[in-house]
């Protein structure tokens, strides 16, 4: 199959959906040039650095029948517009009794590893998990990027797409033919029988590396990529853990209050799954520190293959 990069996959998704539906519009502080060329400066509009205004404008556009796609660039810039995400986009469908639909895609890049320091190295998905009303996608491959983004653009709700900075130039297979990926269906990245590893975004690849390495040591690791955090495919995760009896969650966000806590909880609170759990779930996350700038420290805080392997062994103890 043809290979494209994660970034190209996103561009393709946008191009295809913009061709498909002329109610789509694009807002960003810097326009994707190809898209702008094809669809014009009106529909693919450059915004000033006014995130509250254009994040909110997307809501007004959506409530007026358009389907905006907003690229915020780095996730950290969401915070200057946070009210528009949390109090407006997420709540108004419900709060207005479903009178109107708000189909909006907000794209943000997440993750660390580039020595960008604390402000620019954040993976804040868990906070949105606690805010019902926005769907959350977290593509880990070019294939998923394209398929999930297309589904997101067609969804009639606000969708937040968390895209990992480190993956931009990573290549992967993606068919030329049209496809979409349903929300709420995890991808089984690798089958295994000893331990279930649930990993997010870039950590899917780290987990797979660890799994390959562990295979040599005779440990069979199953790797699950939830693909979407809201809705979360609880059934697949629980089913896998019920089989393996062990859970490791890998996420590069800070540990406390992160998505890993939710995933661990979803597993343990299910009494059928709990009964089959043979060891304590293990979280492999960044420690609770702002991400440091200097490479040795940054490398230290980000989960890597070694930490995942150690966690799997811990779970096997």
């Amino acid at each position: 199959m043809r290979e494209i990069t994660y970034a190209e996959a996103a561009a393709e998704a946008l191009r295809e959906e913009f061709r498909r539906d002329d109610r789509t519009v694009h807002l960003s502080t810097d326009a994707p040039l190809q898209l702008q060329k094809e669809f014009g400066r009106d529909r693919v509009r450059v915004t000033p650095i006014s995130e509250s205004a254009f994040v909110g404008a997307a809501i007004g556009l959506a409530g007026s029948g358009f389907r905006p796609v907003v690229n915020i660039r780095m996730a950290t810039f969401m915070f200057v517009a946070m009210d528009q995400f949390i109090n407006q986009a997420a709540k108004i469908t419900y709060m207005f009794g479903g009178q109107a639909r708000f189909p909006i895609v907000y794209r943000v890049s997440v993750g660390a590893g580039m020595s960008m320091a604390a402000q620019h190295s954040i993976s804040p998905y868990s906070m949105f998990m606690n805010i019902p009303g926005i769907k959350l996608i977290i593509p880990s491959t070019p294939y998923d990027m394209k398929g999930l983004l297309k589904t997101a653009i067609r969804d009639n709700n606000p969708v937040l797409s968390f895209e990992h900075t480190a993956l931009g130039q990573v290549k992967g297979e993606a068919p030329e033919e049209e496809y979409t990926i349903p929300f709420g269906k995890a991808a089984l990245r690798r089958q295994g029988s000893d331990v279930t590893v649930v990993a997010l975004a870039n950590m899917v690849h780290v987990a797979l590396e660890a799994a390959r390495e562990l295979e040599k040591e005779g440990v069979s690791v199953e790797v699950i990529d939830p693909r979407t955090l809201v809705p979360l495919d609880k059934a697949s995760i629980r089913e896998s853990v019920a089989r393996t009896g062990r859970l490791v969650v890998v996420d590069e966000a800070c540990q406390t209050g992160g998505a890993a806590a939710e995933i661990a909880s979803v597993v343990v609170e299910d009494s059928q799954t709990f009964k089959r759990l043979r060891s304590a779930p293990v979280r492999v996350c960044a420690p609770d520190v702002p991400i440091p700038y200097s490479p040795p420290m940054e490398k230290f805080v980000l989960p890597d293959k070694q930490r995942v392997m150690a966690a799997v062994k811990e779970a096997l103890k």
């Binding site: 000033p48 909110g56 997307a58 007004g60 109090n87 108004i92 009794g97 109107a100």
Partner: protein
Amino acid sequence: MPIEPQDLIEMYKTMLTIRRFEERAAREYEERHIPGIVHSYIGQEATATGVCANLRLDDRIVSTHRGHGHCIAKGADLKRMMAELYGRKTGYCKGKGGSMHIADFSVGMLGANGIVGAGLPIAVGAAMAAQLEGGDRVAAVFFGDGACQEGTFHESLNLASIWKLPIVFVCENNGYGVNTPAEYSIPVKDIADRAAAYAMPGVVVDGNDAAAVYEAAGRVVKAARAGKGPALLECKTYRWRRHAESKAFAELRPTGEIEAWKSRCPIASLERRLLEEGMATGQELADIDSQVLALIEEAVRFAEASPWPAPEDALEGVYSV
């Protein structure tokens, strides 16, 4: 365009509807038929009325926490409004929103909003939609003097200006944000002066004079329809009641000031004009009041008779299909 007697009478009726609705809402709140919080629009009726009288059904507005007047002026249904305040299933939001979140997309009312300043960006989006649609629709957004110190005010006016969006920013300067005087929070004489920072016209109007609001808003709405871009319209007005219908909100404004503004009642002054200029008789106006009161009564009865949402309804409607 000179203002027609019929327009004035229509506005009179709208203002009176707002007044009576708010009086009744206050009473129902007091009697605990309405829970939560209710911010009364009494005293400010001329603003919503004068602005919305220039708008078509397909124009869009965005409102604030003090939103009943905007709803009514844009043509929302009193029954469904009152039912929403009552928290009933038949309310605009099926009882999920309450006073601060009434919306009626079918009449272009894109929602009240409990967050100060949050409506402006949303309205900018509605105006962008109008622009992309290519017709001559406009958007209008209401907000208080207090909201003018929020960042969203600045970002929204700027965005509307650089894109020449068809939108009117209607600042209802009622002199206070809760109990903080506008003069404390705002260093310039008129909020409308800030329009210059966005290269858009800034207009000050007596927000208690429906005809004046109508005319001033008419000019900027017309310009917006013609593709000439946005404007900031500052309506100087006053709220008669405390910040919200709850004793938890102290009333710290000087009594004399409140009384002085009451003597400048927007409804009474339009009434005087209608009578003085012979556009309506006392009887005709009394008839309007009776009609209005009947409508309000009907709204209350509708609300009372409406079913409560089932508790489990809470679980539905987080996402659209």
